[in-house]
Amino acid sequence: MKRFLLQRLSFLALSVFGAFTIAFLVMRLIPGDPAQVMLGDYATQESIARLRETLGLERPVWMQYASFVGRALRGDFGQSLVTQRPAFYEVFAVFAPTMQLAAAGALVSMLLGIPAGIVAAARRNRPLDYVTTTLALGGMSMPVFWLGLLLLFLFSFTLGWTPTIGAGAEGGWLSTLHHILLPALALGLSLGAMVTRMTRSAMLEVIRQDYIRTARAKGLSELLIIAKHALRNAALPIVTIVGINFGIQLGGTILVETVFARPGMGSLLISSIYQRDYPQVQALVVVFATSIVLVNVLVDVLYAAFDPRVRA
């Protein structure tokens, strides 16, 4: 277990380092002079020179990289060019709504995908299985932003049940819940399709095993076999899948937040890219990537804690 932990932690460290590198590259990829690009066409020579100085663009690339990583480790990404406040601080102002959305989406995807996957596996190659897997494939093929717009059209515009934009009034949990309903549904349906397929595979894997045959031979009812014998053994892989999907989930929040005009890391990322606010983009890329890797490693470690076979 110790070795496994060490291995996962080194992966975590390496990935965070990778996130820093990607964030650093964002600025290096800019064609021409980044300072000029950031400040726009009307900037004076002095202000460009000043920004070049602040960004350290006069120094060799490796020194720029070293100082970027050094500062990033301390959470210092410089100031947002738009708000003039520390970029890292700006990220944490919108961290909560994005995590709420991702968690709500994950919840919906599990509530939907796990039962659907179990049913499909239990009724393998029968009509119910075909219907479920077809729906799941359809769900996987839908762009999540389009699904969001369809839900918006149906539930907000046509039925008038849900609000159209925003994240709700500050502090009112009922309003927050009301506003998160549709975005979470969009995210959850899209991801639920994948969870369904993976739950089905995990269950089929287990159903093949000898102890299931034994249970059948003992004359247990199919319901009991699925619920007590198969599901318990398939539960761990399923939980892992959901955890891994959390990363994809966070990618999806970028689109869903845009569709529903929700404040969050995703919508901030898009507006920062538009406004050429590169320090802000860098801070967001790092926080996004680190959160994803952190969740993945956490799930891996939890899995290993429950299942000794993984630790080897």
């Binding site: 964030a23 590259l25 890219i273 993945n296």
Partner: protein, 311 residues
């Protein structure tokens, strides 16, 4: 995605696509053909894909209007005989924009998958064949990149480079490289230990010959499946970038851009976003069906059960 999770997609091609080493190549090819005929998913997906490709090729014929010509007297018209999919707020014909948009999406998907497959598979095959430190290093990098969603990677690249067709292709291809490296490495590891490779090495074949004549040809099946499902993902990522306004620049007709154009008029003109999104869904569904079908056909051990986590 994590290392272990990536490892789980290995069985996809663990047998190199062939049932047993003793079965002759002829038998295998015949079996594949027979299974292909029976695979409803592969056939259906192939038909859908063929239809979309035809639409893209025939765009100049099928489009009833200029996809970027404004016509302000015909703004926000509902679908009619003159405008099959209605018009948007500039009076542009949505059907014509969707038809021409098929070209953009398919071209992006084709080039992205081609570049990512060749690049990723090269890294994977060398890494898997030679092993050692090279393998250790590249796989750490691949694992790290796999942990980040493709959209986030593509957005980071687009943020730096700025939006253009070439940059979209570059950004998505970079985001898709690691998954090909993973699959190719996994298959290479199993093929490397097979008798015919050991035999070739024993007979004194050079590494180059072993790789090109023995290893690579036996790794094609799983890469082909990966290419099909990745094409579906590439279309989703490309249209996401266009939807966010960070893809191919307007007024070029792309599916994502048409959906984004229709967003502000969702209440009064739902056909703009609705119908263009349906085009994406049909295309991606076709590719996913084909990918699923091919997996069943090429690797019967996973028939109807194969699933890669965290695609």
């Amino acid at each position: 995605m994590t290392a272990r999770a990536a490892e789980r997609r290995v069985p996809l091609g663990a047998t190199g696509g062939r049932p047993t080493p003793t079965a002759s190549a002829l038998d295998w090819a015949a079996q594949v053909r027979a299974r292909l005929r029976r695979s409803v998913a592969a056939v259906l997906g192939g038909v859908v894909l063929a239809a979309v490709v035809s639409v893209a090729l025939l765009a100049p014929v099928l489009a009833t209007h200029d996809p970027i010509a404004n016509n302000l007297t015909d703004r926000l018209q509902p679908p009619s005989r003159a405008h099959l999919f209605g018009t948007d707020d500039f009076g542009r014909d949505v059907w014509s924009r969707v038809v021409w948009g098929a070209r953009v999406s398919l071209v992006v998907a084709l080039i992205v998958v081609g570049v990512a497959a060749v690049g990723g598979a090269s890294v994977g095959v060398l890494s898997g064949y030679f092993g050692g430190r090279l393998d250790l290093f590249t796989m750490r990098v691949v694992d790290m990149m796999l942990a980040f969603p493709a959209l986030l990677l593509a957005l980071a690249v687009m943020a730096g480079l700025g939006s253009s067709l070439l940059n979209v292709i570059l950004a998505v291809a970079v985001a898709f490289l690691p998954r090909f490296a993973r699959v190719q490495r996994a298959v290479t590891l199993t093929v490397r230990e097979r008798e015919f490779v050991l035999g070739a090495v024993a007979l004194g074949s050079t590494h180059r010959r072993v790789l090109t004549r023995h290893v690579i040809p036996n790794c094609l099946a799983p890469v082909l499946v990966m290419m099909t499902v990745s094409a579906a993902d590439a279309i989703l990522v490309e249209s996401s970038l266009s939807f966010l306004g960070l893809g191919v620049q307007p007024p070029a007709p792309t599916w994502g851009a048409v959906i984004s154009d229709g967003r502000s008029f969702l209440q009064n003109a739902p056909w703009i976003s609705g119908l263009s999104g349906a085009a994406i869904m049909i295309t991606v569904l076709g590719l996913n069906l084909l990918g699923d079908g091919l997996r069943d056909v090429l690797d019967p051990t996973l028939r109807g059960e194969g699933e890669e986590p965290g695609r």
